[in-house]
Amino acid sequence: MSRGRRGFTALAVGLLLLTTGCSQPATSRSESITLYTCVNDTTVQPVISAFKAANAGAEVQLFRAPTGQLNARVASDVRSGGLRADVIWACDPLTMQDFVTQGLVGGWTPQTDIPETMRTPDYVGIALLYMVAITRKGQPAPANWQQLANAGKVAVPDPKVAASALGALAYFGTDFYADLKSKGAVQVSTPDDVTTGVAQGVYDAGMTIANSAYAAAKSGSPVTVSWPKPGAVAIFGPVAVSKATENRQLAQDFASYVTSQEGQTVIGSSGSYPTLPNVPGPTKPENAPTVQPDWKTLASEKAALLKDYATIFGG
């Protein structure tokens, strides 16, 4: 081997070792927890910072990915030595329920004033998404959900892709969507696609999540946001502690923190809707109505519901 080749190989091997070494966590395990979540960075990062500030010496290792990747990661963990997360913060109750059924998380929840409708013995909802109506400026905004079908060209998100859309489906039932389809509604992929489409004028109105709609309106897109009666559909994202965690105390501390007044305030100011009552959060009109789907029934009926839905908008 020529000198050049040898030098090159050494460099490559050295780099390999370097990069491997670089990733070892600096602190010992007992002061650190691993958090798996699908929630956006803009919410998760402030929460982690605030938690670390309130708990000197604590480290939170974050794995953040869209729901699909999160599921794959958990499943792979399970088959290669066990779940490596100490805490999971999901984006919808159904995913979390699946984890509970597999025996991965649950069995304990922190003391908190978060309403019963958003908790079970295994997990507690800490952030909310609201499905609201978004309308192109200049068009009349629907005062209730039934009027959405008459709003012109309407877009709805895909329940197979977004848990929020799934929640809406569970709440409204398939008849609602059949009616929409018969009046020319279109299904897009994510709630953000709905927002973008309405903002660009491709659609006249649609169903999307409040954060997305208000962000667009704030940056200047010609849209209006409304909370149609009987209410915006609320989807909560729960937190749960892993059953096999080796850092139970710190994990539970984290769960307690995010369900506390302080943690919920941080969540509220980061752009997500808090679940704890009377905590300030993003834009929500006075007395805006909200409704909750029946998550328990949905858990067992998910497959059938989606199958039904597929006959309306296609698979």
């Binding site: 990733s23 070892q24 966590p25 794995f63 599921n71 963990d77 699946d98």
Partner: protein, 540 residues
């Protein structure tokens, strides 16, 4: 040729090859198959008969066929146009046609939407939009466009070595017009290169994910790869996870079956050595031809790369969706939102990781090429093609299943995933070059007292230097904008740039996603430009 001292080198080469193949490719594949088999074989019937499965399979093959059918003729046309030595601006065109190679495919798909879909750039500027872009036709076209540079590269090599200028001169001197020469001489002589290009594109597009996902899925167009992704997204229960791995295994089997004439993949020689003919020996076209060629090239490049990239930058600069892209509405906010310290860190890590991956892959590619003519070597070649075709998410899952216990959250596991996915990419150009090594030169070295290692190092390596640089560059750039595997395998302290992209893109804002795409593309362009300059000097 073999002497006593050679045995050590050979032994070292074989152990690295077999060892690496086992660690990097065999283990993940086996883990996937095991999961499928152990947990999923009971469900195999259901997976196969699930509504939409047959459609997805059909779509995958139709997509590959359509993309290949589009990309190959265009690539041939471009190669033929660009060999004219007196083409105005030739050096520039030869770089410009390679642009789609540098743009990550999720960026390409996204930028086409911004350019041609409803409410896109053409709609804003000219008032028309191509609604078909968001559907199977759009997917096929975009996938084809991103494959054209590869076809062009393969055909150019074929032209240089099989359809040398003298064959065309002889035909002209025998009374044949340009078109007749093309039909009777050039294309028949290019047949092996065309076949290689077709097979390569077909296999690569079977595993393509980003474009069908971004463009096809909203229109209801599914492929095996998008179905795998849907399974992962849709279900957090074990059943759908296993379904996803089953689908992945099926994809691998389908690929094997379709390209089972393994010799088609492996036997065709891509000859990268220089010939005695210089560029100037190619015929230069007539005056009209010479004016039309740049025009045609320009139209093609603007439509497929230029306009989409402009649309992308425009979207990145516009402050909100739905407002016209005028200077009054331009802002740097989207870029600022993206350029955080975390992005900087991730970028540094990505560059390091890509550098390491490309360098290791170079060595692996060399060894594979060197030992590739033996039956075992051929076996390894087929094996590494399988990980090339697997969608990134399943390679990542395979890695986690195999090594998650020890390597989870480290950079090492991401590196392993890159090695698995890109090994075939490194191996291809190198083995083609090795095929054409002149034996006489090596013998002369041995007769002059060099052992095998020195002989290879001093005689063979300099000759295949362009191929080495090409292979390294290809791996480096692909690793740099790899998204799917990194986002699944990363941990705190091992985030790559792509992970930052994905996490931010999930915020869903058009402007920010566009800004990130522009950033990622720009970041890829800079090392690419450096590598191009290096290649020019190496070839001189």
């Amino acid at each position: 040729m073999m002497q006593a001292g050679d045995r050590g080198l050979l032994w070292a080469g074989w152990s690295v090859l077999i060892g690496s193949a086992a660690i990097v490719v065999a283990v993940p594949l086996l883990m996937l198959m095991r999961t499928s088999w152990v947990e999923g074989r009971g469900r195999l019937a259901e997976v196969l008969t699930e509504p939409g499965f047959g459609t997805a399979v059909a779509h995958s093959f139709e997509l590959s066929a359509a993309a290949t059918g589009l990309a190959v003729p265009i690539g041939i046309a471009i190669a033929l146009v660009l060999r004219d030595p007196r083409l105005p601006g030739r050096a520039l065109w030869r770089v410009a046609v390679l642009l789609p190679l540098l743009v990550p495919d999720f960026v390409l798909g996204y930028s086409w939407l911004r350019a041609y879909a409803r409410a896109g750039l053409t709609s804003e500027l000219f008032g028309f939009a191509w609604t078909g872009v968001q559907g199977p036709v759009g997917v096929a076209v975009i996938v084809a466009v991103s494959a054209v540079p590869l076809v062009y590269l393969i055909i150019t090599v074929g032209l240089a070595t099989r359809a040398e200028p003298i064959t065309e001169r002889a035909a002209h001197a025998s009374g044949a017009t340009a078109l007749t020469v093309l039909r009777t001489i050039t294309l028949p002589l290019l047949a092996p290169a065309i076949a290689t290009a077709a097979v390569v594109i077909f296999v690569l597009t079977l595993g393509t994910f980003a474009v069908p996902q971004v463009i096809g899925t909203p229109a209801g167009f599914s492929t095996i790869t998008t179905r795998i992704y849907a399974d992962l997204t849709y279900g957090s229960d074990p059943q759908t996870f296993v379904d996803a791995t089953t689908l992945a295994v099926l994809l691998v089997i389908l690929t094997l079956v379709v390209v089972a004439p393994a010799d088609v993949l492996l036997g065709i020689r891509l000859q990268l050595s220089r010939t005695s003919a210089t560029d100037l020996d190619w015929p230069s076209g007539g005056r009209i031809g010479r004016a039309l060629k740049p025009l045609g090239l320009a139209i093609y490049l603007i439509a497929t790369s230029g306009l989409p990239l402009v649309a992308l930058v425009s979207a990145a600069m516009t402050r909100a969706v739905g407002v016209p892209s005028t200077p009054a509405n331009w802002t740097w906010d989207n870029f600022l939102a993206v350029l955080t310290p975390r992005t900087g860190e991730a970028l540094g890590r990505s560059l390091l990781l890509s550098f390491a991956a490309a360098s290791i892959l170079l060595i692996l590619g060399l060894i594979t090429a060197g030992l590739g003519r033996t039956p075992a070597g051929r076996g390894v070649s087929v094996l590494i093609t399988l990980t090339l075709v697997l969608p990134g998410s399943t390679v990542a899952i395979g890695m986690l299943l195999g090594y998650g216990r020890w390597l989870a959250d480290t950079v090492a596991i991401i590196l392993l995933a890159y090695l698995a996915k890109l090994w075939a990419l490194a191996h291809r150009p190198i083995s083609a070059s090795v095929d054409r090594l002149p034996l006489a030169g090596l013998r002369a070295a041995r007769a002059s007292g060099a052992n095998l290692a020195t002989g290879l190092g001093t005689v063979a390596l300099p000759l295949i230097r362009p191929a080495l640089i090409t292979a390294w560059a290809l791996c480096f750039l692909t690793a740099l904008h790899e998204v799917t595997m990194s986002s699944l395998l990363y941990g705190p302290g091992s985030e790559t740039l792509a992970v930052v992209v994905l996490n931010s893109a999930d915020l869903g804002r058009v402007g920010v996603t566009a800004a990130l795409s522009v950033l990622v593309t720009a970041i890829v362009l800079l090392p690419a430009a450096a590598l191009w300059a290096l290649t020019r000097r190496a070839r001189a």
